[in-house]
């Protein structure tokens, strides 16, 4: 599909044919994007659709493999983050990229603060200018207050003020309302209107349809790294957008083999945490794949990490195979038969610096060692068995796990846990950012595990994956369970509605 020009105005920023690949993954394939001054363009797509990649290309962090970037009709390159900034592109992320120990005014002006004649920072002029910028966006913030004393909504405002201070022409907002209260969200809407009046082009990335329909003028949908459509908000319905987002037939890549669902293996009741989740309760059975869907930041990973002993719930209990247990450490969770494959593969999953086989045997050292002494032959045997089952692609088992592709690192992490013969395996976004081939392997494997009587919890933000693999789906929003769907009720519309909190009938 070709991008249609808006009548009259020319786009400030145009992307054509942008492609970007990483080892084993094609993150973007020939996408296009146009941003018009004074207009809000919503970028819609699931996790892994390529939204964060395109943001990184626009802010100069990644370089596209192919394609052109045009600013005001002239072709340019954003070779560094600074170059992107100089061209007038700024981004406001979910987590602010600013300095907690500096004041609001300093954060706005760091790198380009006004100076007095003797070269010192002209604090008074800086604060005056900061005040002006902040009031132009309706932010009642004290320029002298320290950033660390502010809430996330205020930090966003500072980031926007900074964008204005460098005279940004394109403002990218990446899930900006993720941590805002209702009042703050409305204030953000007003802010967006002001930015539009000032002629800024805004790229608004969000999963929340109510927001998109409220403030966006145009929409663009990405799916699996491809551009699938765009148009004006006036001419589109939510149903059409969801259809474009999700697209393909659900049963194709997700071969769910029917499994015998057995007795309950894990029961959770009243699990609560002071800041992360509240009143979580569910039951998991042998042979079952339980999907957990929700928007990013809904609290699913936090619940799973509490189950795994990383964090402690303040209330509630869990029962594993009939015994009530308090899981105070990961070691205890593993002993109880619960294992967790984390979402953040790099930081929490694989130990880079250690070879593959050592990663695989790490939780099982008691089994492979004799009286505390390592038995390398045993370790290699264990590593061989489980990496082979997962079809690992690597030069040797002695290779540093950090050298593997994302998909293969994931296989090592899964292999590591399978080697402990668990009863419950929790997979947190297991196929995020990995290639189709490895994806299919992981899914196939999950089915096999369920078939062997393991209980599987799958946290996922990809609707086809959740619908294709799960026997049941639990939806979480803002730290609470808001819905549970099974059988015919498991539709994309139901999931998206429940996750985003849209009122209305189930399809």
């Amino acid at each position: 599909m070709q991008a249609q020009p808006v009548s009259g105005t020319a786009p400030v920023l145009s992307l054509r044919g942008i492609s970007k690949s990483f080892p084993g993954v094609r993150a973007l394939g020939g996408v296009e994007l146009d941003l018009y001054p004074g207009q809000v363009t919503a970028l819609i797509g699931e996790n892994g659709a390529g939204k964060s990649t395109i943001v990184k290309i626009l802010t100069g962090i990644y370089q596209p493999d192919e394609g052109t970037i045009t600013v005001d009709g002239r072709e340019t390159r954003f070779s560094t983050a600074q170059a992107a900034g100089a061209a007038g592109v700024t981004a406001i992320h979910q987590e602010t990229v600013l300095f907690d120990e500096l004041t609001v005014a300093e954060n706005i002006f760091i790198g380009h603060a006004p100076r007095t004649r003797i070269g010192l920072i002209d604090t008074r002029a800086m604060e005056r200018e900061a005040r002006r910028l902040l009031s132009s966006i309706g932010a009642a913030l004290d320029p002298q207050s320290r950033l660390r004393d502010l809430g996330i909504a205020s930090k966003h405002l500072v980031a926007i003020a900074r964008a204005l201070s460098i005279d940004a022409r394109v403002v990218i907002m990446d899930e900006p309302t993720a941590a805002l209260s209702h009042k703050e969200i409305h204030e953000l809407y007003e802010l967006v209107e002001k930015l539009k009046e000032q002629g800024k082009a805004i790229l608004f990335i969000s999963h929340k349809f109510d927001e998109i329909f409220r403030i966006a003028d145009r929409w663009i949908v990405f799916r699996d790294g491809q551009f699938v459509g765009e148009g004006t908000m006036a001419e589109v319905t939510e149903g059409r957008l969801v259809q474009l987002m999700v697209g393909r037939e659900v049963d194709q890549i997700y071969p769910k083999r029917p499994a015998q669902i057995g007795k309950p293996v894990l029961t959770v009741a009243g699990y609560s945490h002071p800041t992360e989740f509240d009143d979580i309760g569910f039951t998991l059975h042998e042979g079952e794949i339980l999907g957990f869907y929700g928007l990013v930041g809904a609290g699913r990973s936090e619940v799973m990490q509490a189950l795994f002993g990383i964090t402690r719930p303040s209330k509630g209990a869990c029962r594993i195979n009939g015994t009530v247990r308090a899981l105070r450490s990961t070691a205890e969770a593993v002993e109880a038969g619960i294992v967790y494959v984390p979402e953040d593969r790099g930081r929490q999953g694989a130990v880079k610096g250690l070879p593959i086989f050592q990663n695989v045997t790490l939780p099982s050292l008691a089994k492979t060692s004799r009286m505390g002494f390592l038995q390398l032959a045993e370790e290699f045997r264990l590593a061989r068995e489980f990496t082979q089952r997962l079809d690992l692609r690597a030069a040797s088992l002695d290779q540093d796990v950090g050298l593997l592709s994302g998909g293969n690192q994931q296989k090592v992490v899964i292999a590591k846990w399978l080697a402990t013969q668990p009863r419950v395996i929790i997979l947190d976004e297991p196929t995020k950012g990995i290639d189709i081939g490895s994806k299919a392997a992981v899914h196939d494997f999950m089915s096999e595990l369920a078939g062997q009587g393991l209980a599987v919890i799958m946290v996922s933000s990809e609707i086809p994956e959740v619908l294709g693999m799960s026997d049941r789906v639990i939806v979480m929003r803002e730290g609470r369970i808001v819905a549970e769907f099974a059988g015919a009720q498991m539709t994309p519309e139901n999931l998206v509605r429940a996750a985003a909190g849209i009122e209305g009938e189930a399809a």
Binding site: A81, Q82, V97, L102, I121, T123, T275, E276, G479
Partner: protein, 329 residues
């Protein structure tokens, strides 16, 4: 009121006042202006060096070579004095030499990305060894130093010795640097969020280099002050002082992880240690208690600093976020 207790500096100031009160109870003469001025003068080298270390620690590094730098420059000052070099030139020379020695540290950290603890561990022993090479282990004694050389730091000006005025000037200049210049703000930015600093055009390595040059220059200059005031120069002067300097910073609330801390905190951390050192003989506690007391003070300060840093879990429940915003406002 709770806001007052949140400020590390306020708590430290309170601790100093309590300390003075306790000492005054036993020995009222300690808190006379005259005596307090003496304590201030005596603590001046520690304060100056603590500021230099603060700059380095802000950028997520550490400088263990400061005392060796001080000793080497002090010895060079002494040697120049014996050779008849005029004082202003000596002052300039120690400043430049100290900065150069600091630049060596900075270059290895910036250019080769060698961790600063390893670099300064090495330069620490090298610089001290060089003192020996220069003098063959011989001392420079008071009678070998010119009168002007020795008298300068002790000359009274408006009620305080020159050394104290120099310290005050350094504190003010440093405060200006750290709060009003791009470089000073860059110290905080680099230590607080090196990732973001790059996007705002700040070079992490160059900022760290600047911090080392600064700490080196301050160490060098203080070398002259030390040698002139104590009227002696030899290989082992200020032995182990680098750890007192780090202690002063830690007590003063400078986060060892970088990116946070205040000039007031560093100064008060140094003052705390200085008061303890001077108060002990006066209160009747043997000076041999000094080390254990400053060690305990460091541990207490660390525990305190850590508490201030709260848990970093995500706030997902809206109810929880509102609670937090109200508490922090």
């Amino acid at each position: 009121m709770s806001l007052l207790f949140k400020s590390r500096e306020a708590i430290l100031a309170l601790a100093i006042l309590v300390l003075l009160a306790v000492v005054a109870a036993r020995f009222p003469a300690f808190v006379t202006p005259g005596n307090l001025a003496n304590v201030l003068t005596d603590t001046s080298p520690l304060i100056i060096l603590a500021l230099g270390q603060m700059a380095v620690i802000l950028t997520k590094c550490i400088d263990l070579s400061m005392a060796a730098n001080l000793a080497l420059c002090g010895m060079v000052a002494g040697l120049m004095n014996i050779a008849g070099v005029p004082l202003p030139l000596i002052l300039l020379a120690v400043l430049v030499l100290g900065a150069a020695l600091g630049a060596v540290n900075g270059a290895l950290v910036w250019g080769l990305r060698i961790p600063s603890i390893v670099v300064t561990l090495g330069t620490m022993t090298i610089y001290r060894g060089v003192i020996f090479l220069l003098t063959d282990g011989k001392w420079i004694n008071a009678h070998q130093m010119s009168a002007g050389f020795k008298a300068f730091p002790r000359t009274f000006l408006l009620g305080l010795p020159v050394m104290t005025w120099i310290m005050i000037a350094v504190v003010l200049a440093f405060w200006l640097l750290v709060s009003r210049t791009p470089l000073g703000r860059a110290f905080f930015a680099v230590g607080g969020n090196a990732h973001a600093a790059v996007y705002t055009g700040i070079s992490v390595g160059r900022t760290q280099f600047a911090a080392f040059v600064l700490s080196g220059a301050l160490s060098g200059f203080t070398g002259y002050l030390w040698v002139a005031r104590y009227a002696v120069a030899y290989v082992d002067i200020a032995g182990g002082f680098e750890l007192d300097v780090v202690a002063a910073c830690v007590i003063g609330g400078i986060a060892i992880a970088g990116g946070a801390g205040s000039v007031a905190g560093a100064v008060m951390g140094a003052l705390f240690l200085g008061i303890v050192k001077n108060a002990l003989p006066v209160v009747g506690i043997s000076p041999f208690w000094q080390m254990a007391i400053s060690g305990s003070a460091i541990l207490i300060a660390i525990a305190f600093n850590a508490r201030g840093q709260g848990p970093k879990g995500r706030i997902i429940l809206k109810s929880a976020e509102h609670r937090q915003v109200e508490a922090g406002a």
